[in-house]
Symmetry: C2
């Protein structure tokens, strides 16, 4: 697929994938895809990552139901990062927050500022 | 610094850093920081990356003038990615676009959809 040929996978065969809420524009999470899960992502319109910790295919929402449906897919100038505008069912974070970026620097601490879903 | 102790650097000593426009919420670029450049970033309020290609400290805008001033810094649930809301002077992309994600999937092609600055 020409689309995937433009992607520069790293030495582990992965590319960075950012999921951004298509409506609120909130950045929800960042994870990784390999060639196969990127192909599946582009073909199905659902975000399918490669879990580095479990070393396995990770269809987001497969167990939680919090699937991510793609509205727009973008690639960066270097081809080593992808940005997806998505519709997030439920929330993105396994800790119960809408976004994985639920902690904000306030002085010398990371304080919880994100909202739960 | 407690803030940096919460960060999980990868096996190359790097953490993913996403720069998002504080106002438009457009995702502008993704790059990497090591411990030293993250410390400098948090202390100065300007985005300082680690260039993987040049293997050197990279103060964004040092040569181009397109500096990134931090408005908000967030960390994700795993501590292995950082999200910065920034004010971008000029544009983020060295190819002249506001965002490095200036190409969008349209059918089987990545077409240029981003705006130049």
């Amino acid at each position: 697929m020409d689309l995937i040929d433009a992607v520069k996978f790293d030495d582990k065969g992965l590319v960075t994938a950012i999921a951004q809420d298509a409506e609120s524009k909130e950045v929800l999470m960042v994870a990784y895809m390999n060639r196969d899960t990127l192909k599946e992502t582009l073909e199905t319109g659902k975000m399918v990552y490669w879990s580095r910790s479990r070393q396995e295919r990770w269809l987001k929402g497969e167990t939680s139901g919090n699937v991510q449906t793609i509205k727009k897919a973008m690639i960066d100038c270097d081809g080593d990062a992808l940005l997806f505008h998505i519709d997030q069912k439920g929330g993105a974070c396994h800790k119960g927050y809408i976004s994985c970026f639920f902690r904000t620097k306030e002085g010398d601490a990371w304080n919880i500022t994100g909202e739960k879903f």
